[in-house]
Amino acid sequence: MKICFTAKGTTLDAQTEERFGRAPYFILVESETGSFEAIQNPFADGGGGVGPKAAQVLIANHVRALVSGQVGGNAREVLAAAGIVMYTYRDGGTVRDAFDQFSKKTLEQSA
């Protein structure tokens, strides 16, 4: 399944980003194969309502789980309605670190 990590850069070695709606990049990792793609978040510098808009990007890309530091109320509502499971990662490591923790099932589900 496809998992989204919020990140400051475009690779697995990029630092994770705590914010969801204003994360510069979404790294989409295929959990079975470890292959990934980076998507630039078009709403990172948006004026308002960025949470639900960013959530729509995840829905359009068939993401099943999100790993991020903090997800706002509106985004949370959209993601929950779309059946995307949210996990909290706030250790400030790389996407690879967060993915390792996700694989070991040590991340806490946030909703």
Partner: protein, 283 residues
């Protein structure tokens, strides 16, 4: 004439100046005082009187889920993130909606119509002969100050002399209140904070093309920096109100300086005359 009372900094005495100016001018003709500080309107405290009130609403989309095909066009169109279309339903966040009506226009199935949603209250009173007070009050939790301000100003649209008390700061609510005014009074105090925020307010007024003058309130006589800034920027000092225990005491019990000390009325009338000159209008 439409005259706005603004400031960058909060607590400089906008409402005090607006209330005393309106009180003074009401003896000479019809004046409408509009409280556009809709997040914390308080001019009615200076002018207690029975008021008539009505709701202020804004149109928001309502989706007919039977007709809706979940095509996603409205969600793509909405720049505010107010609509999210899922395969089986639509999520609507009314606090993100700006009532642009675009979702309705782009819907190919006519599945969207608008219904009013309450965002605040508008009250109107006549606290003394010659004076009409209009107050806009934003509902707690609503982020839509601008449409409430627009509605309050609209209520005074046909009135000959309108004094608009704005919110502090320089963001959307202030811009909406200042927009279309013939002149504005920027109330400041002689502190580094007052001067800093005055500079911001001057910039906003200039960008909106509203001629501005300055009132220095609570002056301790050491206004050199403010005076220099005003000279450099070609801003007239309209009146200076001194730092005084007597004035503070009157204000603190919710009274009006010009009611308790009528000799101040000539200062506020001269403020009005200078504003009229700034605006270049008759009244």
């Amino acid at each position: 004439m439409k005259l706005a009372i603004a400031s960058g900094k909060g607590g400089t005495g906008k409402s005090m100046v607006a209330a005393n100016l309106a009180y003074t001018l009401a003896w000479t003709g019809q004046v409408t005082l509009v409280d556009c500080d809709v997040e914390e309107p308080n001019l009615h405290l200076f002018f207690p009187a029975p008021a008539s009130a009505r709701e202020i609403t804004m149109p928001v989309p309502v989706i007919d889920e039977i007709v809706c095909q979940h095509c996603g066009k409205c969600g793509e169109f909405c720049q505010y993130g107010a609509l999210t279309v899922l395969p089986d339903r639509i999520l609507f966040f009314s606090e993100l909606c700006h009532s642009c009506g675009g979702c309705m226009l782009v819907c190919p199935n006519d599945a969207i119509h608008e219904e009013p949603k309450r965002i605040g209250m508008l009250s109107v009173s006549n606290p003394q002969p010659g004076l009409k007070l209009i107050s806009g009050t934003l509902d707690t939790g609503s982020p839509h100050a601008v449409p409430v301000i627009r509605e309050a100003k609209k209520q005074a649209e046909k009135d000959p002399l309108v004094i608009i008390d704005t919110a502090p700061g320089t963001s959307c609510p202030v811009v909406e209140a200042l927009d279309g005014c013939d002149a504005c009074v920027l109330v400041t105090e002689s502190t580094p904070f007052g001067l800093h925020d005055l500079q911001l307010a001057v910039d906003v007024a200039a960008r909106l093309g509203v001629p501005a003058g300055v009132v220095i309130n609570r002056s301790d006589g050491k206004d050199d920096e403010t005076l220099r800034f005003c000279t450099d920027n070609d801003l007239d000092i309209l009146i200076t109100i001194p730092f005084s225990r007597d004035i503070a005491a009157i204000q603190n019990r919710g009274d009006l300086l010009c009611r308790v000390r009528p000799e101040w009325q000539k200062d506020f009338y001269s403020l009005f005359l200078k504003c009229r000159a700034l605006a270049g209008v008759e009244r």
